[in-house]
Amino acid sequence: MTNPASQPTNGNFRCAAISAVKHDYVARGVASHPRFELVVVADDPQVPDWAHERNQQLADDFRIPYVRDVERALREFGVQIAIVSSEAERHCDLSIRAALAGKHVIQDKPLTTRMSEADRLVAAIEQSGVKFLMWNRNFLPSVLNASQRISAGEIGQPLAAHVDFYFAKDAGPFKGSRRPGYPPMDWLAFQLAAHIDGSDGAVGNEPIGELSNEGIYPLGYLQMLVGARVQRVFARSTAHFHQVNADNGVEDLASMTLEMEGGLIGSVAVGRSGAASHPSGGEMKLQVVGTKGALVVSEARPDIGIYYRDQPPREPRQRRVAGENDFLLAENFAQAIDHNRETILNARASRDIFATITAALKSCETGQPVEVE
């Protein structure tokens, strides 16, 4: 049952950005939908100055107040929706507080850094009767099309599903490029400095590897394409590219072999492979084998090539077009609220994905396949 207090007025939703220190693109993406209006930015008073600065920036851009009191913002601005994009370790706490205040929640990835928090979030969402959406990429045109083809039975019953998901981005000095004796790189200090040129990753006090930070995307694809829960996982990971990952003991390259419900198998490769590894942001592919055929899908398509003299080296040569991911995610969320339906990636599915990643990280440590809780 949807919480009546969280129903829209005049069909539109008033939204609070509850911390926008990690990505402001989630709030901006939601606000791009005409039914969603960003009315306030809020955060806890004790967050560090850099966090306040980022929140204030978003508030200034939208010409809305920044309130250093989350509960007051949720209470006094007539919002139905909280958009959470804090440091990963605060995600669930903020989302739970919003849910308990009767607000629907849109949350940035990753879900959390702790399994107990994931379980607490699922309980809070389900008990509060509010909707939850983990921001994802499932409505990219190619992914949507693949999902529709599989649902229509064009390749028969899926047997195996694979995702390659590499971000061709740098993250500071390459591994091994610093002189011996240099102190280890501080995770948070690096992420804050890297924010200027957009090469930051998972900002926060807890270092987070690529599997934890980005794994939601490929696993979200699999969840939508084949709809089977992962039961067992074998994984390998390494800090292969970047010194900041190596110094902080978190991976920037990982691979998972998955055993899923119904005998499906699958695999995922994720990495932050360096800007030099791809001309346009990274190789991202979905490959599904079925009983009657198979699909090979480039996540980036449709795209077009743009090349010109004196082109900046970091400007993508292939440019994605016709994407409606932001609008469709927001629309999916609105429909879920309007018709009391589940979202494309709800709290329980997000929790299951986090459980898969947790099992994968354990497998990386033990070298053995691990059952997913």
Binding site: A160, S237, A239, H240, L253, A276, E283, A294
Partner: protein, 296 residues
Amino acid sequence: MIRLAVCGDEARWQMVSARLRGGSINCSLNAADLHPPPGTYDALLLVTPKLQQVGLIERALADGKHVLLVSPTELPPAELESFATSAKQAGVQFAVVNPDRYLPSRQLVRQQLDAGKLGRPGLIRMYRWEPTPASSSNTLPSPLLLDLDLAIWLMGPSPNSVFATETPRATDGTESGRTIQVHLGFPDGPMALLSYSSALPPGDDYRSLSVMGSAGAAYADDHQNMQLIYRGQHPQALRAEEGIRPLVNLTQDFVDALQTQRDLSPSLVEWHRVRTIGQAVEQSLISRQTISMEGA
């Protein structure tokens, strides 16, 4: 000039012969002519040799001919070892090769790795989907052996761990494809994912290779090499093939090795290594556990 005796499509071999330096296809064997006169050739080259051709290989070695076996997945390791012993006694070369190492696309990737342009390989990702229904035996599909070889050839060291899983197979005796996932771990962190399936409907296969290196990456993907043909309704995708070059490349390499007297015996050692890893894959499929290759 090295004179080669070969078996199979004569027209295709003539195309190879026209492209060879220092070698020629002198003798194309067929079912009626399985034992060429010793004076007519210097070396025997067989692609995917069958068990029925063991006698031909033994006689060639006994006659002092060099032998190259391409993709000898159907021959037991003990037989290959016996050939190697015979070759040593006769003072000739005996070698086995994976033809995929000679695909121009794969050779270019290896060259970039050797030149250090891609840095240290961290992840090798391979897909091979085929329309061939697999046999009901528990033996690893032969193409997967070739992929294992290719992954190790590109990575450098041998894997130190092997994990594999596959979709459940039909228990009613019907022929169905096998869909297998192999996960290799290498010392100090690198990894390889090999996705094999023989469940495709009749038609073309699909192959893809990507190598993520510490300084760059290479992508050799059929998806990127498709041409389109429009004949109404949806267009069809047609792969831009690498043609006869793999066969030319491996034949030329064999001829060059014979002319320069390069020792080809390590090829059998590498092949045995791949068979051992293949056995580990089979063990993992049965046990559903990781197989350690430390000390193997």
